[in-house]
Symmetry: C3
Subunit: 246 residues, 3 copies
C-alpha cells in the first residue's frame, strides 16, 4: 500500500484537470497524500517526460505511487499500463512515458489494464481510468489487468540517454535527457550553434554567463547565472543537442 501518490502529467499546474485528479484519488483513500510532482510536462511529447520522470523517481520515497499522464492518444486504442519497478508502482498510457523508469530499474513487471470504469470520458482518462486504478493499487487491491511482456511496451528500446531538451524549468534553465554521470566535466555541450562549458554551480560563474552543470536530479542542465537560458538561447523542449566525446 502506498501513502504518497505523485502526479506527473501535462494537465497544468493551473486549471481544472489536476484538481479533479486529486479529488478522485482522495475520495477513495482518505489516508493518502497526493503530491504534484510535475504537471507541466511538455504536451504531446511523452518521450521528453519519460526521461525527466526517470531522473526524479530516485529522490522520492521508495513507496510512492506514480500517476503519469502525457496522453496525446487519449480516446484512441492505445493501451493503458501498470508498471512495478523496483517495488514502486506507476500507471500511465502505453506511449513510452513509463519506459525509461523501467529501463533503469533492476526489476520491472508490466500489466495492461483491462478494468473499465462505469463512465469513461473520451478525453480525460487521467481522472476516469488512471486515477481510479492508482487508488486501487494504493489500497493494495490486485492489479486490474493482465501481465504483458516488456518487449511489447512502447519506448522500451529508446536510448539510455536522450540528447534533447526535455524540460524548461521555472527559472528558464534547460534540462536535458542526459545523465551527468555519463559526461565528463571537460566535455562541452553544443546546442543551437553554441558551445557551453561546464561549471560546478551558479555561484561559480559571473551573472549572465552560460554553463552546463549536473542538476539536482543528476541531469545535464544548461543555465545562465541570474538569467533565463531559454530566452537567451531561444530553445525549447524537444530541441536537440550534442555532447561530443573529448
Amino acid at each position: 500500500m502506498a501513502r504518497l501518490i505523485a502526479l506527473a502529467t501535462d494537465f497544468g499546474s493551473q486549471g481544472i484537470y489536476t484538481g479533479q485528479m486529486h479529488a478522485v484519488l482522495l475520495a477513495s483513500n482518505p489516508d493518502i497524500a497526493v503530491v504534484d510532482l510535475v504537471n507541466d510536462l511538455p504536451a504531446f511529447q511523452p518521450q521528453l517526460g519519460a526521461y525527466l520522470l526517470a531522473s526524479m523517481v530516485p529522490f522520492l520515497p521508495q513507496d510512492a505511487l506514480y500517476v503519469c499522464v502525457v496522453d496525446p492518444g487519449v480516446g484512441s486504442d492505445r493501451a493503458a499500463l501498470v508498471l512495478k519497478a523496483d517495488g514502486r508502482w506507476l500507471v500511465g498510457p502505453d506511449n513510452g512515458i513509463l519506459a525509461v523508469v523501467a529501463r533503469r530499474a533492476g526489476a520491472s513487471r508490466w500489466w495492461r489494464i483491462t478494468w473499465k470504469p462505469a463512465k469513461l470520458s473520451r478525453s480525460f482518462h487521467g481522472r476516469d481510468l488512471f486515477a481510479p486504478v492508482a487508488a486501487m493499487l494504493a489500497r493494495g487491491d490486485p492489479v486490474p489487468g493482465e501481465p504483458i511482456a516488456e518487449e511489447q511496451v512502447i519506448g522500451i528500446n529508446w536510448p539510455d540517454d536522450l540528447a534533447k531538451i526535455v524540460y524548461v524549468d521555472h527559472f528558464g534553465n534547460l534540462i536535458t535527457g542526459f545523465r551527468s554521470q555519463t559526461v565528463s566535466e571537460r566535455q562541452i555541450v553544443r546546442i543551437g550553434g553554441r558551445s557551453i562549458p561546464f561549471a560546478r554551480t551558479f555561484s561559480d560563474v559571473p551573472p549572465g554567463s552560460a554553463f552546463w552543470y549536473s542538476n539536482s536530479n543528476g541531469l545535464v542542465e544548461i543555465a545562465v547565472n541570474q538569467g533565463r537560458a531559454d530566452q537567451v538561447f531561444n530553445l525549447r523542449p524537444g530541441d536537440e543537442l550534442e555532447i561530443p566525446a573529448r
Copy 2:
C-alpha cells in the same frame, strides 16, 4: 461533515491567496483535505465560473464542500451565501457564482451568512469569511446564517445553458457554457465568424484541425488537435457563440 473541501476561485494557482485559504481551512480541521479544483476562474465575471463549476460538481465526491469565490464586489454590501444542493454544501458571494449548481440540483436550500469574523479585511473575504464558514460546516456546526428564499439569489434566473466561452483550459481549448447533451452531433458551433463541426475526440481529426466535442465535464468544447484554439481563433472567456438548430 465533509472530508474534502474544494476551492473554486479566481485567486490564482500561483501567488499568495490560495495558500492562505488552505492554511485557514487546515488549521481548524486537521482531518480534511483541501483540493484546488480551479483557482483561475475568469476574474470579475462570476457568471462564467458559475457554469463551469456546475459542470464539475457531478465528478467530485458526493460529500465534498465547495468554497467558491469570484468576488468583484468584495468590500461592498453584497451578501454572502451558503447553499445546500442535493446534499452538497457550497459557500460564496451572492453574485451568481453558486446559482447554476442550485438550478441543476433536485433540492436546494439557501442561507445568508450573518456571522462576522473578529478581523475582516476589505479585500479578502475568501480567507476571512468564506473559509471560516466552510470550516464550521465541514465540522458539522450549524449554518451561521438565516434562511433566504431562492428567488432572492442573484443569477437564479440565468439561462439553462450559456452561449459563451466560460473558460480557456491549459491546452488552449475553449470551454463553453453549453451542455453537450442539449446539442446534436450534426449541429455546428458558430464563433468569431467561423463554423466549427463536431468530432468525437482529438485523435479523430488531423493535427491542426478545429472541432467541437463533448468534453470530460459534459460541456461543448472547441479544440484544435495538437494546437491552441484560443490563439488560432483569438478568443477568450466571455466571447459569445451560437449553436444554430439544424
Copy 3:
C-alpha cells in the same frame, strides 16, 4: 511539533521543485499538511520576499512551521539558519529572507544549521537540506545546529518598512513593503512619476482608477479597479516608491 508546514519560496507554483519539497516533507511526517503559502517570490531578491513573508505570518496558525527559500547563493558558503520567533519555527538561508519576521517578533532565537545530509546537491538545498531540517523540527527533534547571535544574521538591520514593490499579485496589484498602519489615509504614494491617492477598497473607485489601500495582509498596495496596475504603470518587484509625509 508542527502540523502545518508552509512553503515560501521562489521554486515556482508550476514546475518540478515544489513537488519534490512536498514529497520529502510528507515522507517523514505522515500527519503533517504542507501548504504552498507562496512559491513565486521574486527570484534573486530575498529582501523583497522577507517583507512579504513577515506580513503573512500573522495570518497563519500559531504553530505553523515555515520553509523559506529564495537562495541565489546556493552552492556557495552562505549559512543555513533556523529561527524561532514568538514560538514559530522557520528555516532558510542566511540572506535576510527570515530577518524581517525576527525583527517584528517579541522574542527570537537563531541557530546555524550544522547537520549535513548524506546527499547534498549543489543547487537544491530546499529539498536536500531545508526540508529535512524542517521535518526534524516538525517531529520535535532538537535543532540540528548551534545557536548564533542575532547581530550576525544578514538583514537584521534592514529598515522597519521597505519603500519598494515587493510582489506583484495574480491580479497585477503592486504590493509594497510598507505596513499601512505606518501611513495615513491622507498620504499619497509616489511611484514612477505618478501620485496615487488612498481609497478604502476596490468598489469605492470607478473601474480603471488607480488607488492605494491597506491590503489583506496589512501592507500598502497599489491597485487599479478591474485592471492590472503592473501593466498600467509598467512596474515590477524591486521598483522604488516614496510616501511623503503630509
